[in-house]
C-alpha cells in the first residue's frame, strides 16, 4: 500500500494548492460584488432576492456535504452499499440545488433583473454563476464516479477518486456558505 499512498499524498497536496487558486478567484469575485453592490442605478438587492429559494437551495447543498461524508465513511468501512447510497443522494441533492438555482435565475431575469441590468446584478451573476458552474461540474463528476463504481475498480483506487471529489465538493459548499453570508444574507434578513 506504501507506494500508492505516497502518490496520493502528492495528489492531495496538489489538489489543495489548486483549491487555493480557486479561493483567490472567488475572493476576487467577492470583492467585485462588494464594490458594486448595492448599485446606484436600477434594482436594489432586497427587491431582487427570493428568500425561500435561497434558503431551500442552501439546505439542499449543505446537506449534500453530509451525504457525501456518509459515502466516505462507507468507503473506510468497505461498505459498498453505503458508498453507493451516499453518492446517489449527494447527486440528487445537487440536482435539486441546480433546479432551484435555475428557477431563481429564471425568475430574476423574468422580472427584468438580468445580467446587464446594473453592476450589482452583473457581479451577482458572474460570482453565483461561477459557483453554479462548479456544482454542475460536480454533478458530472459524480456521474463519472458512479460509472467508475460499476466497473468494480480496486478499492483503494475508488477511495482515492472519492476522496479527491469530496475535497472539491466540500470546498464548493464552503464557497456557498460565503455566498449566502455575503451575497444574500445582508438583503434577505
Amino acid at each position: 500500500m506504501q507506494g500508492a499512498e505516497a502518490l496520493f499524498e502528492d495528489k492531495r497536496l496538489g489538489f489543495f494548492l489548486y483549491l487555493g487558486v480557486e479561493t483567490v478567484m472567488f475572493a476576487t469575485l467577492f470583492a467585485t460584488y462588494l464594490i458594486y453592490t448595492p448599485s446606484s442605478l436600477g434594482a436594489h438587492p432586497s427587491e431582487v432576492f427570493t428568500a425561500w429559494a435561497v434558503i431551500l437551495a442552501s439546505v439542499f447543498l449543505l446537506s449534500s456535504s453530509g451525504t457525501l461524508i456518509l459515502a466516505e465513511r462507507g468507503m473506510e468501512k468497505k461498505e459498498l452499499k453505503t458508498v453507493l447510497a451516499g453518492i446517489v443522494f449527494t447527486l440528487l441533492l445537487a440536482l435539486l440545488f441546480m433546479i432551484i438555482e435555475i428557477y431563481e435565475f429564471y425568475e430574476y431575469v423574468h422580472h427584468g433583473h438580468g445580467l446587464t441590468a446594473n453592476n450589482f446584478l452583473s457581479s451577482f451573476y458572474v460570482l453565483v454563476g461561477l459557483h453554479a458552474a462548479h456544482v454542475f461540474f460536480g454533478i458530472l463528476w459524480m456521474a463519472a464516479l458512479l460509472f467508475l463504481y460499476t466497473t468494480k475498480p480496486p478499492h483503494g483506487y475508488l477511495q482515492e477518486k472519492l476522496k479527491t471529489f469530496s475535497y472539491y465538493w466540500h470546498f464548493v459548499d464552503v464557497v456557498w456558505i460565503f455566498i449566502f453570508l455575503i451575497v444574500y444574507a445582508p438583503y434577505i434578513f
Partner: protein, 635 residues
C-alpha cells in the same frame, strides 16, 4: 462588409505568404528526414526534460517573432515623422501590444518554466515532476493559448490595447474588433497551463526531494522556483478573474470597467495585483539561475545562503504590496501613494542584499569566465541600473514626470532583459549539456553575449534621456527638431545589434547540433545533483539510486574528496511515467472552444466543451494509478 475588408495590409499578406510557403517546406523536411516518430515522441511525452525542451523551443520561436515586432518599432522610430511600411497609428498599436504580450507571456514565462522543468527535478534528486501527465497538459495549454493569441494577426485583427489592456480602451466600445478577445482567451488558456505547472513544481519540490535534501540544503534555483510557484498560484487567479470580467464586458454586455457605474481603475487594480507579482515571477527564477552559476564558476559556496533565501521570500512577499506604484498618477490620494512608494523602496533592500552576496561569492573565488558566467557578469551592473531607476520611479511625486514616458520603457527593459532574458540565456548555456548532451560553442557564445549586451545598452540607455526629454511611450512618431532624433537613431542601431547577437545564438544552436561531441556528466565542475546524471539527462534519472546528500553542495564536496558520490535508495515511490496524447488533445480542444466564444458560434463552443468534458472522463478511466493499485493486490 465593404471593399476595404477584403484587402489585408501588406504585412499580413507577407505573413500569409510566409505561412503558406513554410508549411509545405517544413512538412517536406519532416518527411524527408523521417522525423515523424520524433514528433510523435514529443507530442506524447510526459518526461520533464522533454517538456522543458518544448517550452524552451517554442519560447525561443516566439522570442524571434516578438523581436521582429521590436525591430519594426525601432525602424519606424529611427527618423522623425517616419512612415515605415504600414506601421503607423493603429498598426503601431498592434505592434507594441503583441511585442509586450508575447515577450512576457509567451517568451519569458515558458522559457523560465522550461529551465525549471529541465533543472529543478534533477537538482533536488527527484525522478520526474510530481504529476507527469499534468506537466504535459501545462505545456500544451501554453502552446494552445499562444497559438490562439497569434492567430489574430493573420486575420488582420491583432490585439491593440497594450499588454496591460487598460479599460475602457480594451472594452468593445473602443476596440470593437475581435483582436482583444484573442488577447483575453489566449492569456486565459496559457494562464491555466502556467497555474498547473506552478502547482506541479511546488509539489515536486515539497515532496520529491532526495533523502537528506532538506530545504536548507537545496540549491538556490529550486528555492527561487519554490517562491515563484507560490507567487504564481496567488497572482494568476487574479488575472483569471480580471480577464473573466473583461470577457463579460466585451462579449456579454456587462459594464464592470466602463459605463455609468463601472470603474476603469478597478481593472488597473486587478491587473497590477497580478502584474506586479508577475514581475517577480520573471525575476526571481533568474536570480536563482545566477546564484547557481556564480557559485559554480567561482568555485565557492554561495555567500550568505540564508540571507539569499530570506531575500527571495521577502521580495516575493513585498511583491504583493506594491501594485499601486503603477497607478501613482491615477489619483488614489497622498496616503495611498506614500504607502506604495515606501513599500516599493523597501524592495530595494532584499534585492541589494542579493547583489552584494553575488559579489562576495566571487570575491577570492577561482573565477572561470565561461559563457554562462559572462551573462552573469553582464547581469549584475545591468540589473543594478534598472533597480536604481526603479527607486527613482518609486518616488511618487517624481513619477508624475516619468509616467508613460520612455524613461519607464528604459527602466522595465533594464530589469526584465537585465535579469530574465540574460538569466534565460545563461541558463540555456549552463544546462545545455543536460538538455542535449552538448556544450554550446564558446566563440559564438561570446559574439552572442557581447553583441547582445552592447546592443542592449545602446538601445535602452538613450531611452532614459528620451523619456526625460518628454517622449511619450506607445506613440508612433515624433516631430522634427524635438531633440529626439539622435537618441532614437542610436537606439535603433542598438536594436539591430541585439538582433545580430540573436543570429549568432541561432547559428550556435545549429553548429552545436551538427558537430559537437556528447560531454561527460559534469562538464562545468558543478555543485548540485543535476551533474551526477549523464548528459543529456536520462529518461528516468535516479531510478535505482540517488546520491547521498549530507550538506549543501554535497555533490561537489564528495567529488572533491572522493572523486565519486555515495549512493542511497529513495524512501518513496517516484511519479509514474506515461506516454499519452491526451494532454495535447485536451489543450487543442481549447482552441475551437475559445473561437466559438469569440465569434459567438455557440454550437462550436458547446461541442468543444462537451468533447473537453469527455476527455476528462477518458482521463479518469485511463488513469495510470489504477494499475498501481491492481499490482498491489487490489488492497
Amino acid at each position: 462588409m465593404t471593399i476595404d475588408h477584403l484587402f489585408f495590409p501588406s504585412d499580413v499578406i507577407m505573413a500569409w505568404i510566409f505561412t503558406a510557403v513554410s508549411i509545405p517546406v517544413v512538412t517536406y523536411l519532416i518527411l524527408k528526414y523521417r522525423k515523424m516518430p520524433l514528433i510523435w515522441e514529443y507530442l506524447t511525452t510526459t518526461n520533464h526534460r522533454k517538456i522543458g525542451t518544448l517550452y524552451l523551443l517554442f519560447g525561443f520561436l516566439y522570442f524571434l517573432r516578438a523581436g521582429l515586432d521590436a525591430l519594426f518599432m525601432r525602424i519606424q522610430l529611427a527618423l522623425p515623422e517616419n512612415n515605415f511600411w504600414v506601421f503607423q497609428s493603429d498598426k503601431y498599436n498592434e505592434l507594441f501590444t503583441t511585442h509586450g504580450t508575447i515577450m512576457i507571456f509567451f517568451v519569458a514565462m515558458p522559457m523560465l518554466l522550461g529551465l525549471m522543468n529541465v533543472a529543478v527535478p534533477l537538482q533536488i534528486g527527484a525522478r520526474d515532476m510530481a504529476f507527469p501527465f499534468m506537466n504535459a497538459l501545462g505545456f500544451w495549454l501554453f502552446f494552445s493559448g499562444a497559438a490562439l493569441f497569434n492567430m489574430a494577426f493573420l486575420l488582420d485583427d491583432a490585439p491593440n490595447a497594450g499588454w496591460t489592456a487598460y479599460t475602457p480602451l480594451s472594452t468593445n466600445t473602443y476596440t470593437s474588433g475581435q483582436g482583444n478577445d484573442y488577447y483575453v482567451f489566449g492569456l486565459q488558456v496559457s494562464g491555466l497551463g502556467t497555474t498547473f505547472t506552478a502547482i506541479n513544481l511546488l509539489v515536486t519540490i515539497i515532496r520529491h526531494r532526495a533523502p537528506g535534501m532538506k530545504l536548507k540544503r537545496m540549491p538556490l534555483f529550486p528555492w527561487a522556483t519554490l517562491v515563484t510557484g507560490v507567487l504564481i498560484i496567488v497572482a494568476f487567479p487574479v488575472l483569471t478573474v480580471a480577464l473573466y470580467l473583461l470577457m463579460f464586458d466585451r462579449l456579454f454586455g456587462t459594464q464592470f470597467f466602463s459605463g455609468p457605474e463601472g470603474s476603469p481603475v478597478f481593472w488597473q487594480h486587478l491587473f497590477w495585483i497580478f502584474g506586479h507579482p508577475e514581475v517577480y515571477i520573471l525575476a526571481l527564477p533568474a536570480f536563482g539561475i545566477f546564484s547557481d552559476i556564480i557559485s559554480t564558476f567561482s568555485r565557492k559556496k554561495i555567500f550568505g545562503y540564508n540571507s539569499m533565501v530570506i531575500a527571495l521570500c521577502l521580495i516575493g512577499f513585498l511583491g504583493f504590496m506594491v501594485w499601486a506604484h503603477h497607478m501613482f498618477t491615477v489619483g488614489l490620494g497622498p496616503m495611498a501613494n506614500t504607502f506604495f512608494a515606501i513599500t516599493t523602496m523597501m524592495i530595494a533592500i532584499p534585492t541589494g542584499i542579493k547583489v552584494f552576496n553575488w559579489l562576495f561569492t566571487m570575491r577570492n573565488g577561482v573565477i572561470r569566465i565561461t559563457i554562462p558566467m559572462l551573462f552573469a557578469l553582464g547581469f549584475i551592473p545591468t540589473f543594478v541600473m534598472g533597480g536604481v531607476t526603479g527607486v527613482m520611479l518609486s518616488v511618487a511625486a517624481a513619477d508624475f514626470q516619468f509616467h508613460d514616458t520612455y524613461f519607464v520603457v528604459a527602466h522595465f527593459h533594464y530589469v526584465i532583459i537585465g535579469s530574465t532574458v540574460l538569466g534565460i540565456f545563461a541558463g540555456i548555456y549552463y544546462w545545455y549539456p543536460k538538455i542535449t548532451g552538448k556544450i554550446l560553442d564558446r566563440t559564438l557564445g561570446k559574439w552572442h553575449f557581447w553583441l547582445f549586451l552592447i546592443g542592449f545598452h545602446l538601445t535602452f540607455f538613450p531611452m532614459h534621456l528620451m523619456g526625460l526629454n518628454g517622449m511619450p511611450r506607445r506613440v508612433y512618431t515624433y516631430n522634427r527638431g524635438s531633440d529626439l532624433f539622435e537618441l532614437n537613431f542610436i537606439s535603433t542601431i542598438g536594436a539591430f545589434l541585439m538582433g545580430a547577437g540573436m543570429l549568432f545564438f541561432a547559428w550556435n544552436l545549429f553548429k552545436t547540433h551538427r558537430s559537437a561531441q556528447i560531454v561527460s556528466n559534469d562538464p562545468w565542475g558543478g555543485r548540485s545533483l543535476e551533474w551526477a546524471v549523464s548528459s543529456p539527462s536520462p529518461e528516468h534519472p535516479f531510478e535505482e539510486k540517488v546520491p547521498v546528500v549530507e550538506r549543501r553542495d554535497s555533490f561537489w564536496y564528495s567529488m572533491q574528496e572522493q572523486g565519486k558520490t555515495e549512493e542511497t535508495e529513495h524512501r518513496r515511490p517516484g511519479p509514474i511515467a506515461v506516454k499519452t496524447i491526451q494532454p495535447f488533445i485536451i489543450a487543442m480542444l481549447m482552441m475551437p472552444l475559445c473561437i466559438g466564444l469569440i465569434y459567438g458560434w455557440w454550437w462550436l463552443a458547446v461541442m468543444s466543451g462537451i468533447l473537453l468534458l469527455g476527455m476528462f472522463f477518458v482521463r479518469m478511466m485511463t488513469d495510470e494509478r489504477k494499475q498501481l493499485y491492481l499490482s498491489q493486490g487490489g488492497g
